[in-house]
Symmetry: C2
Subunit: 481 residues, 2 copies
């Protein structure tokens, strides 16, 4: 039958067929099925599924920040601003945004690049963070950072030069990059992070990857994820300087994915934005390296994934290219106004003198401290297990432990036509309800096996998860020893 359809698997967009996005791949799909089986009374050795596959804080029990939700409720239902219990700064915040909406309604389309006052607040936030100028006209708001990242990569699609345009990405990487590169028919050039040195980024590895791909690709882009996803490392200032110099030398456009900039846990680790390091480098770098930096409301202490807010800031972009970028995004009209408003609450939070400050600060601090505790706890728990090694979680929301699988387990997996870490993760899911993502979904050195787990389950659930995990892991290792 299939071949009789007008649109069938044989004539479907070939890049759609080959792209993969493991974070929502077979494991999470099976996890949803298992949840349904449990709901309809199936007997399993566990009572609930623990979704440690995706950086989805609220789904794992993290509570929304009151200030953020008050502002967006006021925007959706302006009568709430007449309520005497509504903090004054919330009302000011919501009014300022609504005054910048057509007809003072969140139901109006915004400018395609986002509401002007919010872009101005983003620029102020960046200036305060970095100590360098930021131009609101070079900031574009989007529905999560993913949309901005895809929009920027889209600019590079061009096969007129004969070779595919090459994009350098870390391995392991967040699979939005590999999926988008595949969908856009660009060329993926992986550079390996150094697992034996806390997933650090070695410039020699960048050189190697670049040189090896030279004959195949016209390499014009380098993507950096800092803090790292799935690897949790935080880059030093010196490291970022070296990366920027490499980009300058090789004439690469830099994409800096900085969505975890608020999630720094390790002593001695500090977040440096690519923008600030670039500006600090001075000439000839600071006025020439083209940079797109991304941020999101989905991570940090906010975890507002479902509300979809993010932005890109361009530095040194060609003026004509930027005009074309804005034209391109205009056909999609605009990103959600509520998501834009959430960005505003993140870049322009309550000040110490504001009515909401105390509660906002207490809630924010509690979330970040709890994440920090769990970052340590997770690493320690995995390290205790035989057959697992785990780098510290310096930042972001994930651990990426390495599995030292017995030969028999690898054979078994291969006999089933599965990657060994996929086989391990699927067994874990079926036997314990814990859903993690196999390392093969992010990329890893040949012959090494990993999985990504979030640090997001709340402490009680995290404890239970580690108990279930330990039992499964020890039995698995014994079975295949």
């Amino acid at each position: 039958m299939s071949s009789q359809k007008v649109l069938n698997i044989d004539n479907l967009n070939p890049n759609v067929k080959t792209m993969q996005y493991a974070v929502r791949g077979p494991l999470p799909i099976r996890a949803v099925q298992i949840e349904k089986e449990l709901a309809s009374g199936a007997i399993k050795p566990f009572k609930n599924v623990i979704k440690a596959n995706i950086g989805d804080a609220h789904a794992m029990g993290q509570k929304p920040i009151t200030f953020i939700r008050q502002v967006i409720a006021c925007i959706c239902m302006p009568q709430l601003m007449e309520n005497k219990d509504m903090p004054k700064d919330v009302i000011e915040h919501a009014s300022a945004i609504l005054n910048n909406c057509g007809g003072k309604s969140a139901g109006s389309y915004s400018l395609s690049n986002g509401i002007e006052i919010i872009r101005k607040n983003v620029a102020k936030y960046i200036e305060k963070r970095d100590g360098f100028k930021s131009d609101p006209e070079l900031i574009c708001l989007s529905g999560g950072a993913s949309e901005s990242i895809r929009n920027v990569l889209k600019l590079f699609i061009n096969k007129s030069g004969g070779k595919k345009v090459g994009v350098m990405i870390p391995i392991p990487q967040y699979p939005l990059y590999s999926a988008t590169i595949e969908e856009f028919n660009l060329g993926q050039i992986g550079y390996y992070l150094n697992e034996s040195n806390n997933w650090s980024l070695d410039i020699s590895e960048l050189e190697k990857a670049y040189e090896q791909s030279k004959s195949q690709y016209d390499t014009r882009v380098i993507c950096i994820i800092n803090p790292g996803n799935p690897t949790g490392q935080v880059l030093t200032k010196e490291n970022i300087e070296a990366i920027l110099k490499f980009a300058f030398e090789k004439k690469l456009f830099v994409l800096a994915d900085e969505v975890y900039q608020d999630n720094i846990y390790a002593d001695g680790s500090k977040f440096y934005s690519f923008k600030s390091v670039l500006m600090g480098l001075g000439e000839p770098y600071s006025s020439s390296i083209e940079l797109a930096s991304f941020h999101s409301v989905s991570k940090g202490y906010m975890g507002e994934c479902g509300l979809r807010g993010g932005y890109v800031e361009f530095t040194n972009i060609d003026g004509k290219v930027f005009t074309e970028f804005k034209k391109m995004t205009s056909a999609k009209l605009c990103s959600t106004v509520v998501g834009q408003a959430v960005i505003d609450t993140v870049v322009n939070p309550p000040k110490p003198e504001d009515e909401s400050y105390k509660q906002w600060n207490a809630e924010k601090t509690a979330v970040l401290e709890s994440l920090k505790k769990r970052a340590t706890l997770v690493k320690e728990a995995y390290e205790k297990l035989e057959g697992i090694t785990c780098n510290p979680v310096q930042g972001a929301m994930y651990a990426f432990p390495r599995l030292h699988l017995p030969a028999k387990a690898i054979e078994k997996a291969k006999s089933l036509g599965q990657e060994p870490d996929f086989f391990y993760a699927m067994s874990l899911l079926e036997e314990t309800g814990i859903c993690v993502v196999p390392g093969s979904g992010f990329g890893q050195k040949e012959g090494t096996y990993h999985f990504r787990t979030t640090i997001l389950p709340q402490p009680e659930l995290m404890k239970e998860m580690m108990e279930r995990f330990t039992k499964f892991h020890n039995e698995f290792m014994k079975k295949y020893q």
Copy 2:
């Protein structure tokens, strides 16, 4: 300098360069500038800009529907459900959605195809509307209908057959289609609507357009906009049947853009969904024609453009293709949960026995009746003017009047390197502050000139707009006679 940039206008994605989206093109960009000039004290022959260029109801003063805003405010700030003044059905509605969100928070990612309970409510709505079965598993929610339309068109990108895949679209059309076809490097095949017969869709014109493009394109898709944008016509059942039979015969996948399904004004006009007409046709059509139907929360009586909600329902899609479609959309994680919630309020509105019903019904009816009045008023006003003819606005939110421009005006425009209707619309904007979109942005028969104006300004503003317009038009015609 430009050529020294890594990414410059010469190596930019060529399809981004050539795509155009007139609804947000040079006219609206100039309109925003003029607003800023007015705000900083510039003296103009008018006090405000009237944005009749975009179907953005709230920006033109339409008030949000209370029920919709109460539900989303409760979703954003669940404490509101404890408020005694909050209608019981609003609370039930919001609770049902939150119970289907991870951690009961709108801040959690939803499934990539949307929250299950909302997809089930969409299916019930479609079943009630059409009288035929609808499967929630074949419905995917998105950030506005635009995102779904782009996602479906993306499936057809495939150059392996040598020829570009061709997509048939009406002329005039909504430029999302032409922009997306260009961006995706597909082939555009325009079929002309018949202006002399109320913009009707003649099958003979479809045949002609198909035959003429046969040698150039592998034509596999036909897009229909009903009610029409920018042309406002409403297709009859017989016409839809004939289109479906044409699609069957030529083996075309059908895209039915039905975002204006609630906006029907003319006596004798009725909305028939492509799905219902297809099912009513029976075999061999009903089980074989592949159809994607689109709806949105941005139009109708809701006008919630800024909140970004829409969906696609597939009929007869190949199972393997649908699996790939879902995989593709998963890399974008999910559409905004608030936008999804708005879809829910639209497909599952208050019932007569509910506390909110009376107010909801009164508000809805008032909006639709007012739009109906303005649809008539606009046509009558334009028809009175010399040098303008205008078909009735049977549905949607636009009039698309034809300009019979004097030869001297056409010459003048050409001497400036402009399309004559662009020249006319830009003069209108500069002299009156009224922003409309030239017909050339939608496509029109060679040698004819039009503009699209919305019917959205509220009655008082509409009156003023028609006064300003009439004065300008008469002077313009006199000047170039």
